[in-house]
Amino acid sequence: MAGSRIKLELSRVVQGESRLGVLKGLGRTGQHCLEVPGCLLYSHLGTVPHLTQDTLHTLKNIPAVTQVTLSSVAEHQEVLQEFKGGFKKFAGLHDTVVYCSLHDPAALCPPGYTTNKTVSVWGSGGRIELTVAKFMAIQKTIQPDWYQSMADGETWQSNTSRKRLRKSVDRTLAHLDECLTIHQNSQDLQGVEVFGVVEGGDILEERARSARETAKRPVAGFCLDGFQTGSMDQTLRTQLIKAIAKELPEDKPRLLQGVGRPDEVLACVEAGVDLFEGFFPFQVTERGCALSFSFDISLDPERAGRAPPAVLELNDDETCRAGEGQPNGEVTDGDQTQMTSFEINLKDKRYHDDFRPLVEGCGCYCCVNHQRAYLHHLLVTNELLAGVLLMIHNTAHYIGFFSTLREALANDKLDLLKRRQVILIATSFSVTVTPDGFESAALSHLGMESKHPRVKINMTLIWLQE
């Protein structure tokens, strides 16, 4: 595995942490590349949920890498074995790079099934137990372009003991070494790249150790596991990722697993993450919502520095919602299925006769051809087309967000992007004053009037002020 073909060419490193660049040399013939920070294309068994190749290709700038998960593929090992041509061909995929992860970021696994020698994935027929040998045997039938090594990541629950976390680091390193041995002796996996996995839960020393040790192995990049949305708050996540990043080589990519919410993405890019799993648009789709947050940073320079233009550009939806009691108003780091402030709930009666596109100016197939009222109707009547159209839009919007994120990094406009996120979150929910009035100071710095009697601390505000 000496001299991995994957190369990360960084064009900028902002404030020593945020990275901008291109991941090159992807795919068997090394001809694919992926801009970073970027996201992968999320799939169920190679298919973007709800979409066929025709509807998928209405999208421009589809991420060059498709993520498939062992949880969807493992049960088809025998079929793939007989097929002999590898997963990409089996699925009839377009010309894409295939990355194989262990788990599906949108489906949490029940804990308690990991052992010293095995991890488990859940397919449609139930639990499948994997030893490294079986794991590698499946990889040989899949023939991905790159895969993550088998890992013990069952540490996303809070209050996992130090002992357990240490075990997860040790086991994961042991699995990695075994994977690499098998990999290096396997003709079938010639040209396939391996990512090591950094574990360690919420303990800084374990995280650093895991990173340091993994970096010693001949891997092409690093997966950061155990940071899934809901496992910890962003401050801790940022702290841990920065500590990990210190131990990792600059020129190899870092893929963060299980984090997809735009504000968390921003924060993690600032901590040094390059790649994200692209499952967030799917989750938004499944709850009948459409991503609508603005990420436009091309602001009129005349207005910069005065009352935040971001507030003025919030469309009616967001300001209305601030006044109404949202059922789940908190931007908690909790349940991934909860609606966020980045989306509109198209099932809401107000969209019944709203003939605007989901997002004005969005060039996706859904926004060009259909209106909110139609999506509302499809959702109310439980029609399958709702999922198709929402998946197209949400994926397009998310791709656009990453594109803008890269542009912001390139042009030193990251602050503007962050500010937009903060205001979006802060105006959508009631906020509470803390004794030292810090938050109200932050809000007034942004020129924002508090619409509510109480102002509450919001994590995102804090990192903006750092």
């Binding site: 298919t47 949920p49 025709d54 079929v79 009222a373 139609y374 509302h376 109707h377 499809l378 087309l385």
Partner: protein
């Protein structure tokens, strides 16, 4: 080739008539586009083909599809759709639409309905409210929907019902036809079709035909069939109806969509068909093929690396194997969409081949080879089909 101008906005360019059977092929010139007949019309009940975008539907060559007055009248309602520039605007379908009147729901939702001379009273399953679907109301909704072809509200009785109710329904359908014609606000933009009733009673059917053909409508549907009756009775009513319908107006046989039924009923003189079967069965993993159907979800296809039909040019068959689709059914709803696309392609391709064979003057040969492909041996040919085809001078082996 003769061009005949018809009342309303539909005109038919006759291309061909089969010299052996009663089959015809023509181009219906409808407001949104031409429609080549014989034609199978996919059903998009609630303003959408389930899981398929309008672009995908257009890409398959579909020229006309269905929407449903009862369902759309309930949700989202005619006013909203009118605001959206009609059903075409609401769903963004640029070709033709045919709307059913809501009559069939009288049978399918019989628990929830009650019929009298005024109309059909439905109890809404969504909010328990009672709504009255009268001929006037049905036409009003269809006027708001703006469909290219509208169906009269008919008094529909299940084909398995016998006795005086059948006769009552037939006479009432005639009276309702007249009320529908009177209520139509857009006779120059929307084509109102009559629906022949009379159940399985030849005399009643004939009486209905005699009356309804006196009305100046652009087309006729044959209704009250395809509801579980014996096939032997079914085909006899179809052919009786086409015998007495005007030659120069299209004949729409409602609710027919199985391949064998389509081929036979084209031979009996029908031009237009609709059925939920191909798209519904797709969602259960059943793929339609020239030799029957293929249950993709069955174990036997887990390692079958061929496409559903190697000769099918649809997007599904061009890209995916039975094995992949079999696996995909366990992972994602898109598996249904792949089969839906294939099944629509199958139906449209079948009708295209039927039409071409009529135009080329070789429809009887087409029928024979179609039956050979569909059934393993001649003794498996359904006897009703053999009889029906014999009645129009086509002898199978």
């Amino acid at each position: 080739l003769q061009h005949r101008a018809l009342p309303g906005t539909l005109s038919a360019d006759n291309l061909a008539e089969c010299p052996v059977t009663k089959a015809r092929a023509c181009d219906l010139i409808l407001p949104h586009s031409a429609v080549s007949t014989p034609v199978f019309m996919p059903v998009g009940t609630q303003g959408t083909l389930k899981g398929i975008t309008v672009d995908q539907l257009d890409g398959l060559g579909c020229q006309i599809c269905l929407g449903n007055t009862y369902h759309l009248g309930m949700r989202p309602g005619p006013d909203l759709i009118e605001k959206a520039n009609g059903l075409h605007g609401f769903m963004n379908w640029k070709k033709n639409l045919l709307t059913d009147s809501g009559g069939f729901q009288m049978v399918s939702l019989v628990e929830l309905s009650e019929v009298n001379e005024e109309g059909v009273k439905f109890k809404s399953p969504y909010d328990g409210k009672e709504i009255l679907l009268s001929p006037e109301k049905s036409i009003s909704i269809q006027n708001s929907l703006g469909s290219d072809i509208m169906m009269q509200l008919d008094d529909v009785v299940s084909s398995t019902v016998t006795g005086p109710r059948v006769e009552e329904a037939m006479h009432r359908s005639i009276r309702w036809l007249d009320r529908c014609i009177a209520a139509n606000k857009n006779p120059d933009k929307q084509n109102l079709f009559a629906i022949i009733q009379g159940g399985l009673n030849a005399d009643l059917r004939k009486a209905c035909l005699d009356e309804m053909t006196q009305r100046n409508v652009p087309g006729f549907a044959i209704g009250g069939l395809s509801g579980g009756e014996e096939k032997d009775d079914f085909w006899r009513m179809v052919t009786l109806s086409t015998d007495h319908l005007p030659r120069e107006k299209p004949r729409y046989l409602m609710g027919v969509g199985y391949a064998v039924d389509l081929v036979v009923c084209v031979a009996l003189g029908c031009d237009m068909f609709d059925c939920v079967f191909p798209t519904r069965t797709a969602r259960f993993g059943s793929a339609l093929v020239p030799w029957g159907s293929l249950q993709v979800k069955h174990k036997q296809y887990a390692k079958d690396f061929q496409p559903i039909d190697p000769d099918c040019p649809c997007p599904t068959c061009k890209r995916h194997s039975r094995a992949y689709l079999h696996a995909l059914f366990k992972s994602d709803t898109s598996a249904m969409h792949h089969i839906t696309i294939h099944n629509i392609a199958y139906q449209l391709t079948l009708m295209r081949s039927v039409r071409q064979s009529i135009v080329d003057g070789r429809f009887p040969e087409f029928i024979r080879s179609f039956m050979k492909q569909m059934f393993p041996s001649p003794d498996q040919y359904p006897s009703w089909a053999v009889d029906a085809l014999a009645s129009v001078n086509v002898t199978l082996e």
